[in-house]
Symmetry: C2
Subunit: 323 residues, 2 copies
């Protein structure tokens, strides 16, 4: 990796705040190029300054309208913003109603706003690694705030949300029965609840239910607020910005070194595991590895025999490489 | 692995239902002996018959008294029971009040009951792997029911509970304020809630709170019952046995092939990752690997550089082995 003049030139332009270089680096990460580890090693020391805000919630909750409002607010403060939507149905990534997309074009032209969607193709573990790495790249580039947007609460979404310093869960009153909008897992991860479309019937009831669920948490932690917003008109967005800032302040006052250590170790394990799995996949050929996984999933091959086969492939690959 | 007459003899005795062979196999798993993968490959096809019941809750909730009662009930039905307590303070594993231990001695002499505690020493990931493998061994041996007991709701406990078909969360009214007894995460995983020591003040209130939390779950799933028990007198234990049976029936009526595939893939990934990590650890020497992890945890070494070092060690180990 030491001798790579093209990569050196790219990194140099990245350091000079060249947005084309930023886009190129993100593409390398998305494509799992062999240079990714070297890139990450080089940029790592420049990360750690951005506040990472996760925004999650069901489709139709108005997340993209809300994010538009947040962008406008933060830009008014002169902050550099990046948005990373991880959902194919997001307006940012293309599955949108036209109105939202048109509204976004202003921000696309603003050099203080960088929007890059991440598609959900590829393996799930791979997605959460790519998301983490792209966030690191955006952070190293100098963004003050990085918004990661996901839908739903599958294992992938939860692991993506593990990246965020502050997780905002957006819900919406639906047909007077707000409970349906809640999903297992969301409750646990929310640092801030937003009840959007708060002019709809049932908003106050949903707010009360969410406040109750916060009350049922173990005492002593951050007291997650439940905010009413109407993203379409901008109502309540200032309060959301204030709550995000307040949570950041709370986090820096309540640093949890044990939790930070855990997070670092988790990242290391994820990186190492991914490298080892890529090695395993390369050893067997992607098709063969995929076939093994498929057989495990169907219960036709037991996990120990499958691991045995994978390990044999890795040994062969490495010994071929070194002899 | 093919040529191992001592292991062959041990497996033969295990197949003949020899409890000493069972204990030996479990010790191999606990000590992470090199034979473990071969053992697991051989027994895997004989697993899948046991119902695995996880029992978790805070210390002092009366879990071991409750488990004593469950053992007596299941033994009366002629079932083979295994208990795997994963907590150093459990009476089964030694940190107990004397009364509980004395009560257990009857079961220790009963050949239909196998109790083996698993200590929490060693790495956390390692514990959850060991627990899973010991459960597989107990299952292959022919136990009808395997009770896995944990305390608390750390990541380790949750990953251990991922093993269970049915998870029983035991709580207890405390000082009239039951909410304190709840912990984040418990609510999500409970298939059955037990409010033990139900003669205490606050039992009905705690029951109502737990029922509310069940009500807040997304609709369409198993409706977790909240049972009142007094394990000391045996009251409510029959209802718990009935609820465990009912949940098993519900599971077999609501098979979720996608979830089963996910579970198998998760097990495969865990096995493969553990083997690769063991390889990495062996490549670097355990001390060196531990030192790298410590540096990552303290933030002194970035995860990518650390992974790079680990991978180099693995390559060297494998190439040495093959040349």
């Amino acid at each position: 990796m030491a001798e790579n003049p093209r990569l050196d030139a790219l990194m140099e332009r990245f350091a000079q705040h060249d947005r084309t270089a930023l886009a190129r680096l993100i593409t390398l990460v998305e494509n799992r190029a062999p240079e990714v580890s070297a890139v990450m090693e080089r940029i790592y020391s420049r990360t750690g300054n951005a506040q990472i805000v996760g925004i999650t919630g069901p489709p139709g909750a108005g997340k993209s309208t809300l994010i538009n409002r947040l962008i406008a607010n933060y830009r008014a403060e002169g902050k550099q913003i990046a948005v990373l939507p991880i959902d194919p149905s997001s307006p940012f990534s293309g599955g949108a109603v036209l109105g939202d997309r048109v509204r976004m074009t202003d921000h696309f032209r603003d050099p203080g706003v960088y929007i890059r969607s991440l598609s959900t193709r590829g393996s799930h573990g791979g997605l959460s690694r790519a998301a983490r790495e792209i966030v690191r790249v955006l952070d190293a580039f100098g963004h003050d705030l990085i918004i990661v947007e996901t839908v739903g609460v599958g294992q992938t979404e939860l692991s993506v949300m593990d990246l965020a310093h502050t997780t905002v869960v957006v819900t919406v009153p639906e047909g007077g029965d707000g409970i349906q909008a809640m999903k297992a897992g969301l409750n646990e991860i929310a640092d801030i609840f937003v009840v959007n479309k708060a002019d709809r019937e049932g908003a106050d009831r949903l707010k009360a239910e969410l406040e109750l669920s916060v009350h049922l948490r173990p005492p002593g932690g951050w007291d997650s607020p439940v905010l009413l917003t109407q993203a379409a008109s901008g109502q309540g967005v200032d309060a959301l910005v204030a709550a995000i800032a307040k949570h950041r302040a709370w986090l820096s006052e309540h640093r949890d070194p044990a939790r930070e250590s855990e997070r670092r170790q988790r990242e290391f394990t994820e990186v190492l595991t991914a490298e080892l799995e890529e090695l395993a996949a390369r050893a067997l050929g992607n098709g063969a590895a995929g076939n093994i996984v498929a057989q495990v999933r169907e219960g036709r091959l037991n996990p120990y025999s499958a691991a045995h086969t994978m390990m044999a492939g890795i040994a062969k690959l490495l010994s071929d490489r070194h002899t």
